[in-house]
Amino acid sequence: MTIRSVRQKVTASPAPNEAEAVAIQVPVGEPSASAAGGAALGDVAITVRDLSAWYGARRVIRDVSMDIRSNAITAIIGPSGSGKSTLLRCLDRMHEVVPGARSSGKVAYQGVDIYDPEIEPAAVRRTIGMVFQQPNPFPTMSIYDNVAAPARFNGLVKGKAAQDELVERCLRQAALWDEVRDKLGHGGTSLSGGQQQRLCIARTLALQPKVLLMDEPCSALDPVATLQIEQLMSNLKSEYTIVIVTHNMQQASRVSDITAFFNMGPDRAGYLVELDDTRTLFTNPKNQLTEDYVSGRFG
C-alpha cells in the first residue's frame, strides 16, 4: 500500500467509529468551557484503546485508553518508568522498531487503525511526526539537507525551487530561519543544542505531518532554549495536534491544554491514572496519586 493510498484512506473515512469513541471516551472535563483561556478544543484526533506494550517479556504499559484532541497540546507526565515514552512511540509505530518490542490494543488516527496490516508504518510516521529527546540532526548533512531529507525519503516535493521553499518555510515555522539563513550549507551538528532541536523540529515539520509527538524535547536544553521551544509549540498548536512527554511539571502546566498523568503499577508496567484539562488536573485532581505527584510528594 502506497503512502498516497493511505492518505486517501485517512481522509476518505471520517471516523467511522466516532460514536464508539465518544461513548467510551475518558472524561476530559467540559471541553468547551475548560481548557486554558477557555479556548475551544478540537475534535478527537487519536483514540487509544486498551493499549499495552512489551519489551521482550516485560510489559511496560498496561491497558491505556485515552483520546488525544486535535489542535491542542496534550502533555504526558509521570515518574520514570511509567511508560510515557513508550506510549508516545506506540502512537507512530516507532515502538516496534526496537528488536523484541510489541504492542496490543488499538490506536486510531481520524478513525483509521494505524496498526492495520494494510497500512505501511512509514505512512503512519509521515502523518504523525516525532521529535526525540536528544537533538539528532544527521551528522553528515548540512542544515539545508537535514530539512530536505524527509521530502527526499517520501518524494514529497519535485524540483529545486519547491524544495528551497519547503526548507525556508519549515525553518521559519521552527523559528530558526533568521539564525541559519546565511549558513544553510553548514553542518547540522555545528549548531548549538537548542538550535539543533529546532532544526529537528523543522525537519519533522517538513514531513507536513498532522500530529507532532515530542519526547521530552527540552530535557537536553538550557532554560533559554527551552523557552524558545515552548513558544514554538504554542505557535504550532493552531495547525498541529501536539503530544509532549515531559518530566517537568512546570512545563506541562505552562504549555499544555490537556494533561495525562501516568504512574508505574505494582507489576512495574505504566498505566494512565488520570486525564483532564491541565488546570483541573494540577489544581483539583480527582485521584489521590495525581495530587501527590503534582504537589511533589513523589516521583
Binding site: P121, A122, R125, G129, N136, P139, M141, P150, T189
Partner: protein, 327 residues
C-alpha cells in the same frame, strides 16, 4: 546550575592528594608496561628490517636498490634478480581482490545491520564469520580444483571480446592466473572486511536510525543517509585490513597464480606475487645470490605493505576530515 557545577570542583580539590598517590602506583605501572610493549614492537620491527637488509646486502651491492626493485627480469640460473614482476603481481591481485570484495562486503554488512529481517541476521552473520575461519590452504585447493576450471568459460568470454581491444584482458587463458588469484583473494577477504564493516555499521547510534524511520524513511533510507555516511571511516579501515591480508596472503595465491617469473601482459596470464615467490622458491634456492634475493623480496613486501597502508590511511583521513567533527 552554578551550584551543581561548583560542588564537584571543590570535592576534587580535597581529593587531589589521594588521587596523586594512586597515580604513582596503578597508573604509572600501567603506563610503564604499555610503553615497554610499544617500544618492543618498534624495536622488533626495526631489527627485522635491519637483519633482512644486511642478509640481502650482496643483492643490493650487485644491482643497486633501485635496480633490484625496478628490474623486470628474474633468472636465478643467470644470477639476474629483479623484483618488479612480483611487485606487479602483488598489486594487481590485491587490487582486483579489493575491487571484487569491497562492494560485496558492504552489501553483506548492510544486509546484516539494516536490510535483512531481524531473525535472519544472526544465522547469516555466523555463516560469514565461519568463512573467515577456513584455513587458506583449503581456499587454495578449492580454487585450484574447482574455481579455476569453473572460471574458464568466463575468462575465455572476456578475452574473446574485451580482450581483442584491451591487451590487459587478452588471451591466452591457461587457468591459473593473476585473475584466479584475485578472485580467490576476494573470497578470502570478504569475511574479514564484512565482519569489521558490520561492527562499524552496527555501532551507528540508534537515535540516528530512528530519526530516519520516524521521518517516514525506509530501511534503505537508513542505510544510505545514516549507516553508510557515518560509517565510512570505519569502512575504509576495514578495507585497509582486507588489503593487508590480500598483500600478505601466500598459500592460496601460490596454488592458483600459475607461478611464472615473467610479467604477464594479460590479467589471465600466470605470474607470481612477492609472498608466493618466496614461499615457492626458498626451499630450492641453491643458485648464487638466490636466497639473498628472496630475503630482499621479503623486505620489499614489507615496504609495499607499509606504503599501501599509509596511502589507504591518508585517503581515509581525507575522506573523514571535517564531516565527523561535532559528532
Amino acid at each position: 546550575m552554578t551550584e551543581s557545577a561548583r560542588a564537584p570542583e571543590q570535592r576534587g580539590a580535597l581529593d587531589l592528594a589521594g588521587l596523586r598517590r594512586r597515580r604513582w602506583t596503578g597508573d604509572l605501572a600501567f603506563r610503564a608496561i604499555l610503553s615497554a610493549l610499544t617500544v618492543a614492537i618498534t624495536v622488533v620491527l626495526g631489527l627485522m628490517m635491519i637483519e633482512s637488509f644486511i642478509s640481502a646486502s650482496p643483492v643490493y651491492q650487485k644491482f643497486g636498490i633501485i635496480g633490484f626493485v625496478t628490474g623486470s627480469e628474474w633468472a636465478p640460473s643467470f644470477t639476474i634478480y629483479g623484483a618488479w614482476p612480483f611487485i606487479y603481481g602483488t598489486l594487481v591481485t590485491s587490487f582486483l581482490g579489493l575491487l571484487i570484495a569491497v562492494p560485496i562486503s558492504v552489501l553483506i554488512a548492510l544486509l546484516l545491520t539494516d536490510l535483512a529481517p531481524a531473525r535472519l541476521r544472526g544465522p547469516l552473520g555466523i555463516a560469514v564469520d565461519l568463512l573467515a575461519a577456513v584455513p587458506s590452504v583449503v581456499y587454495g585447493l578449492w580454487g585450484l580444483l574447482v574455481l579455476v576450471p569453473a572460471m574458464r568459460p568466463l575468462e575465455q568470454g572476456i578475452a574473446g571480446t574485451l580482450g581483442r581491444v584491451v591487451p590487459f584482458f587478452g588471451p591466452p587463458t591457461p587457468g591459473s592466473s593473476y585473475f584466479a588469484a584475485g578472485v580467490i583473494l576476494a573470497i578470502m577477504i570478504v569475511p574479514i572486511v564484512s565482519a569489521v564493516t558490520r561492527e562499524v555499521f552496527a555501532s551507528t547510534p540508534r537515535i540516528q536510525r530512528e530519526a530516519v524511520l520516524a521521518l517516514g524513511g525506509t530501511r534503505w533510507d537508513v542505510a544510505r543517509t545514516v549507516t553508510l555516511p557515518i560509517g565510512r571511516a570505519g569502512l575504509l579501515a576495514a578495507v585497509v585490513l582486507g588489503l593487508g591480508r590480500a598483500i600478505g596472503e601466500t598459500i592460496a595465491v601460490t596454488l592458483v597464480i600459475g607461478n611464472s617469473d615473467n610479467i604477464g601482459k594479460s590479467i589471465f596470464s600466470p605470474g607470481f606475487t612477492l609472498a608466493s615467490v618466496i614461499a615457492n622458491e626458498f626451499n630450492e634456492a641453491t643458485e648464487t645470490l638466490h636466497p639473498e634475493a628472496l630475503i630482499a623480496l621479503g623486505t620489499v613486501l614489507l615496504v609495499v605493505s607499509v606504503i599501501v597502508n599509509a596511502v589507504a590511511i591518508g585517503i581515509r583521513n581525507r575522506f573523514t576530515g571535517g564531516s565527523r567533527s561535532g559528532f
